[in-house]
Symmetry: C2
Subunit: 276 residues, 2 copies
């Protein structure tokens, strides 16, 4: 597949969590167009069934295509884990999810070939990460942490309650050191905001890997391969990413929450009405 | 309005929380038909905008009508607070929400005419309870408690973390005793499951009132007024409520979560597909 000079990358997530992936992308490829679709009227996906998530995800991908996206990034672990095949089947463009890059990065980081994966109930229930890791000869233990997303959304990213909840979840998986896991893979796009807190409570020898970073690297490689990274323009003028956002719930709320996740001001947000 | 001999009460909620209202109804009116619609594919409503919630609620109400409901109960505080007028305008049948009965019960319980209301972000942001209480000459302080719903859904209804979170939220409103509040109104259908925990941390002189109970009383009065309470049949044979459930996400999950909220086995669940 060849990309036009100015690729338009369409990112999709249930809400604002995928903005951590967008941020990692902007840092690597500042000079393409980005469209970001947050299905905030129907979030969270993490507690929903595969059928429902696939249905929402395919609709969002079609919308991004209509808006001009020619490379699609599923910046949502639950949607990638539950609906990647359905999404791929629904589009002619290349689709990159977060699971394969995350599994790749965890594999590279693990010496003991033992990884712990945390994510939503749906992501963990799908065992998508375990399968992706086992394919690479790495064993995985998975742990659902349903309360971490609401705690991040409440803004309690460095709160004693969040620390206590994370400790309860992680003592289950790190209490028994018999299998020598040396990597913790953050299998949810909300979790990078908890990285400093998790670093404090996870044993020192455990490396923390997040799929936002590794997904951005994969996308950069794909775009770069087609010769469209306009890095020759660097130096001529500061590169300004072209960002456009779509949200199914209120635009105002997306702006408020989104800026925290993106670490940049979120401005151009269009509300997308749902027919049903 | 006159009700047929066998009224069909249609209850609507974003998920399983409204089953606490259904339970209170069954205890009072066991011998009518109940249809319960849980919009589990799009829950929670508590963090969403009024426009989105109204759109979902009207769709659900129309579905219940098609299934034969002739009296509608909005067993969801957020939907009542944000979309009651839109729902009323969309149906020819009588609609009963949870806010007015809740405000009525809190008014009756308060000697000092000062009430504290807790609920989701959307319910509190709408000030629907404050308005309903002020109309009755009662002052209200409202406090959003966004983490309580996920904690209940995680099953942590009697967990030290939940107690700590509730204490953080409630210390804001009960720390300052200057206004002499003597009632805590539970403005969310998930909260009755936290009643024992809340009882432990709320000052002793504060009465806890929940809108599930008071809504059921209102509905019983409405149905009774039309002469359709078949209480004359009591004693002839044990009354069996006719319960039928509809869920937009997986039926299996609804059965699992629902039984906890209803306190009865949830059996006859139909999955309702969403067109979008």
């Amino acid at each position: 597949m060849s990309y036009p000079k100015k690729t338009t990358i369409g990112l999709f997530d249930s809400g604002v969590g995928g903005l951590t992936v967008l941020r990692a992308l902007i840092d690597r490829i500042p000079d393409v167009n980005y469209l970001y679709f947050g299905d905030t009227a129907r979030l969270p996906y993490g507690s929903k069934s595969a059928e429902t998530v696939a249905h929402y995800a395919v609709g969002a991908i079609r919308y991004l295509e209509e808006q001009g996206a020619d490379l699609l990034v599923i910046a949502c672990n639950t949607a990638t884990a539950l609906a990647f095949k359905e999404i791929e089947a629904a589009t002619k463009f290349q689709v990159i999810g977060v699971v394969e890059p995350g599994a790749q990065a965890a594999t590279a980081a693990s010496t003991t070939r033992n990884v712990v994966v945390i994510g939503t109930e749906a992501t963990v229930g799908s065992h998508a990460y375990r399968v992706a890791l086992e394919t690479r000869g790495v064993s995985a233990r998975e742990k659902a942490c349903p309360l971490l997303v609401p705690l991040v959304e409440e803004g309690w990213v460095d709160h004693p309650v969040t620390e206590q909840v994370a400790q309860i979840y992680l003592s289950d998986v790190f209490g028994d050191q018999s299998d020598n896991a040396d990597v913790l893979l953050l299998g949810c796009t909300h979790y990078p905001l908890l990285r400093p807190l998790l670093r404090r409570i996870v044993p020192e020898h455990i490396e923390i890997v997040d799929s936002a970073e590794s997904t951005a690297e994969t996308v950069a490689a794909v775009v770069g391969k087609a010769g469209t990274r306009l890095s020759q323009e660097v130096g001529a003028r500061p590169l300004e990413p072209h960002l456009k956002f779509f949200a199914t719930d209120s635009a105002e709320k997306f702006i408020r929450m989104g800026s925290r996740f993106l670490g940049l001001p979120v401005k151009d947000v269009t509300h997308v009405g749902l027919k049903e």
